[in-house]
């Protein structure tokens, strides 16, 4: 299968993706480092391209950490504002993506500290477009919605640092080392927070009857 066919198939499977592979296939698409370098010198078009490239990643991470779309919209714009102002300090030691995720995590942490949110926004947890694909049986669809709401609630009930650890690992799929760079902590702290987050969520789901105690032979 030719590279072009592979790329087309891959893009059709992930229409919203905008990754390094896509950029390698598209020879006219500059790298993050190039765009960041140009944006540092005041090239607004380069900065806009970076925003276009990472807007969904930043928005999604904000939404998963704060639980409300409206807040995620404002916060993600704040993130790009901070990124714009901090471009001079971006030295390329970490990837631009990791650097941006770090700004996002810190901004959301500050926002949550101010708001001290401990409850989930149920209207966001129950949005039909974020629920699993509809089941033929309405009762199964309801069950899926309830599970979604329960786990969203359990994640939102975590403290910001534990929530961040869980979201970065289980949803964003980051490796431990990248998580450590984003969260600004050691590998040991990453593992500890992730372990704690999983235990808390599991306990919450057990209490709500969403999962049963595992007895494995």
């Amino acid at each position: 299968m030719s590279m072009a066919v592979q790329y087309t198939a891959w893009r059709e499977a992930r229409p919203e993706a905008d990754s390094a592979l896509a950029r390698r296939c598209d020879r006219t698409e500059p790298s993050d480092a190039e765009l960041a370098g140009r944006a540092q010198t005041g090239d607004c078009e380069a900065f806009e391209r970076l925003v276009r490239r990472y807007r969904n990643m930043v928005f999604a991470l904000c939404f998963r950490l704060v639980g409300r779309r409206e807040d995620a919209w404002d916060l993600s714009q704040d993130v790009f504002l901070k990124a714009y102002k901090g471009l001079k300090g971006f030295r390329g030691e970490a990837s631009f993506k990791t650097w941006l995720m770090r700004i996002t995590a810190n901004r959301c942490k500050d926002f949550l500290k101010k708001r001290r949110l401990t409850t989930v926004a149920y209207e966001d947890a129950l949005r039909a477009d974020e629920a699993p694909s509809p089941a033929p049986d309405p009762s199964r669809a309801l069950e899926a919605n309830e599970v979604g709401a329960a786990i969203a609630g359990a994640v939102q009930a975590l403290s910001p640092k534990h929530r961040t650890a869980f979201v970065l690992r289980e949803i964003e799929g980051l490796a431990y080392e990248e998580m450590a760079r984003v969260m600004g902590c050691t590998l040991g702290t990453v593992m500890s927070r992730l372990h704690y987050a999983r235990k808390k969520i599991q306990a919450a789901l057990l209490r709500q009857g969403v999962v049963e105690e595992m007895h494995h032979e």
Binding site: R52, N56, Q77, E170, L205
Partner: protein
């Protein structure tokens, strides 16, 4: 379920971060508790995918989104304003307060006489004495000698 001391190592293995894969695999073959833990982690990961989906910012809304960012970039910096205003007020209050203090407490200067005391007597030959009562109930005495020395 009783916790096994291998739990955290199993977790690292589950996340693909383990450096002792063989040892963990052997342990899982022997430990039902850790096998149960792996099943829990797998279930949790499946549930996380339920909440993982998120509609991003579609292309049609991107111009509004980008306009919002540009607005924030171009907005004048405000966080100094409040601080400067407070600092200015504080400095002004300090200056006024200090000046008032100086005016009220006064400094050792020549007392301005408001009235001449009727009579003062001196035994110094050739000297004349004038005395005045000051504003604060004190008295100022001027002694003039024939050659003007005081």
């Amino acid at each position: 379920m009783n916790r096994c001391r291998w739990e955290k190592r199993v977790e690292r293995w589950f996340d693909g971060e383990s450096t002792e894969t063989d040892a963990v695999n052997r342990h899982l073959g022997e430990c039902p508790s850790c096998r149960g833990y792996v099943a829990q982690l797998t279930q949790l990961r499946d549930y996380a995918r339920v909440i993982g989906r998120c509609e991003g910012i579609e292309d049609a809304r991107f111009p509004i989104y980008m306009a919002g960012i540009r607005e924030r970039i171009q907005a004048p910096r405000q966080w100094y304003g409040g601080l400067w205003a407070m600092a200015s007020l504080a400095a002004a209050a300090l200056i006024i307060g200090f000046s008032t203090l100086i005016v009220l407490t006064g400094h050792p200067s020549k007392a301005k006489a408001t009235s001449e005391i009727e009579s003062v007597v001196t035994e110094i030959e050739g000297a004349t004495v004038d005395a005045y009562s000051g504003n604060h109930g004190d008295a100022v005495v001027w002694v003039r000698f024939p050659d003007g020395e005081m």
